[in-house]
Symmetry: C2
Subunit: 298 residues, 2 copies
């Protein structure tokens, strides 16, 4: 008795993080996505925290939750605290491995642009260790361990955002051999339409903007990786609805050609974001400058 009775303690850090995430993003589901767990796990953490403090942090509605007044009062502190943890971890990472530069980007950008640029980047920064991580959704740079991210954004007005290319355009492209004799919408429709699962509406969007009077109902093979779709197009497997930003190197090289000279602008700009919590680093500066250069050139 009285040896080491369990002392009351603060709630588990993971529970606090689940609360912070759910409160900041406005839902257990979004928090679950951010934390890479199931929504149920988040719900359990939040419940544990509510049990600990004895008050409700969220008001449960049939569709979603909203912060209770208690939750609203404490949220800012937790956001700041977890921001501080993340920032400290990032600092630790960058101090421990100052030569390693981590880039997060879309699989398509990684395979079609970065793979193109990397030899030159490596040559320009021989001492750096550049890693590329492909992902579908942009990382929260304040919370995930990357130095840079390259994604398509609507407008690059966030802090640390750098426009890499003007508005993206859609244009149908295919292998040179396949393009011969195609001169109008009908000809184009007669060919197989390659599409990508990440941008499933590209064909419809292009058709509607380019040939509003025609009705488009396309079918064709679809791929989850844009680069595979591109490869198929290069191999003569059909016509791909090309994102100019991404297929530019292949157009320049002549591997692909525009089928019809009709470009449709999109509200997507290839944008580079720098991690806002990281300290200045000459190496990183240099990498950013090189990428800008390469993007401009392409």
């Amino acid at each position: 008795m009285a040896v080491n009775p369990p002392r009351p303690s603060l709630p588990s850090l993971n529970a606090l993080r689940a609360f912070e995430s759910a409160a900041r993003l406005g839902g257990f589901k979004q928090a679950a996505a951010e934390l890479n767990v199931s929504a149920g796990a988040v719900a359990q953490h939040v419940k544990a925290l509510e049990d600990w403090c004895g008050g409700a942090l969220f008001i449960r509605h049939a569709q979603g939750v909203s912060l209770s007044s208690l939750g609203r009062q404490v949220l800012p502190e937790f956001v700041e605290a977890f921001d501080a943890i993340s920032a400290a971890s990032q600092k630790l990472r960058s101090l421990a491995a100052p030569k390693s530069l981590n880039i997060a980007t879309l699989p398509s950008v990684a395979q079609l642009l970065l793979a193109e640029w990397l030899p030159e980047l490596r040559a320009a920064l021989p001492e750096a260790r550049i890693s590329v991580t492909a992902m579908e959704t942009p990382p929260n740079l304040a919370r995930e361990p990357f130095d840079l991210s390259i994604f398509f954004g609507r407008e690059a007005k966030d802090e640390g955002a750098i426009l890499l290319a003007g508005p993206d355009h859609l244009l149908p492209v295919c292998a040179p051999s396949l393009a011969q004799g195609v001169s109008g919408f009908e000809d184009l429709m007669a060919l197989p339409h390659i599409s990508d699962q990440f941008w499933p509406d590209d064909w419809a969007h292009w058709a509607k903007a380019a040939f509003p009077e025609q009705s488009y109902s396309g079918t064709g093979p679809s791929y989850s990786l844009y680069s595979v779709a591109v490869r198929e197009a290069v191999n003569g497997g059909g016509v791909l609805m090309g994102h100019q930003t991404l297929v530019a190197p292949l157009l320049a090289r002549g591997d692909l050609v525009p089928v019809l000279p009709v470009k449709v602008p999109l509200e997507l700009n290839l944008t580079l974001w720098r991690n806002p919590v990281l300290a200045e680093s000459a190496l990183l500066e240099e990498l950013v400058a090189r990428i800008r250069e390469l993007a401009m050139r392409g």
Copy 2:
């Protein structure tokens, strides 16, 4: 493929906490005590963190560890961040249950003083829910969920410290019946000496200061709980080396009497600490004021 590839993520919060604790306290063992786990667990967490960032955070010596330069660079950020987490949690607790007041104290203080005071405290603060948690070592109020702590301290110059009683004194006490006819050191030595395992040197200390020319080699029953020792003394089981601060109520009531009129001062002051991270609270103010009053009176 490319569905949801595991994204690199920040290190686990528990690993970061283990690092922070070990670095702040200067050893895995101390960190283990603070976190209520074994030292091996702390070592594993720290190792995981070192693997994550790829650098050593501690330099291992045969006896203990010391911070590496990397560890030294990032420690302050982590300390601040975890302080912020703790503060936010405390705020959550106090907002969710504003009427509950948690006091941490020594078992002896809880049983001999607080138990004495509680009826009056409850009467003075009827709406409050006062909880008392007994523990051997003072809590880190910035990190553990208590509003107040009451412990013996050398000098109350920390922030938030309030002296509850002047320097503590040792004096031998026993039941009135047993005290009769005891008039000197010899008489006292002839009686059973009750001692407490938390302060095992009380008798020797008192004897050396009060009767330096005599040699003391005492034996007698020893109890892990001071209050049990006190009860034994009240029941006539022997002479207890009393801490004046603690036995004052019993002396006042006549349950115990001084055996010899020889008090020896100690460098221990019963001190009350207020949680430094908590916001102002009228209820807490009132409780502090009442406790001061009761302590002064006793």
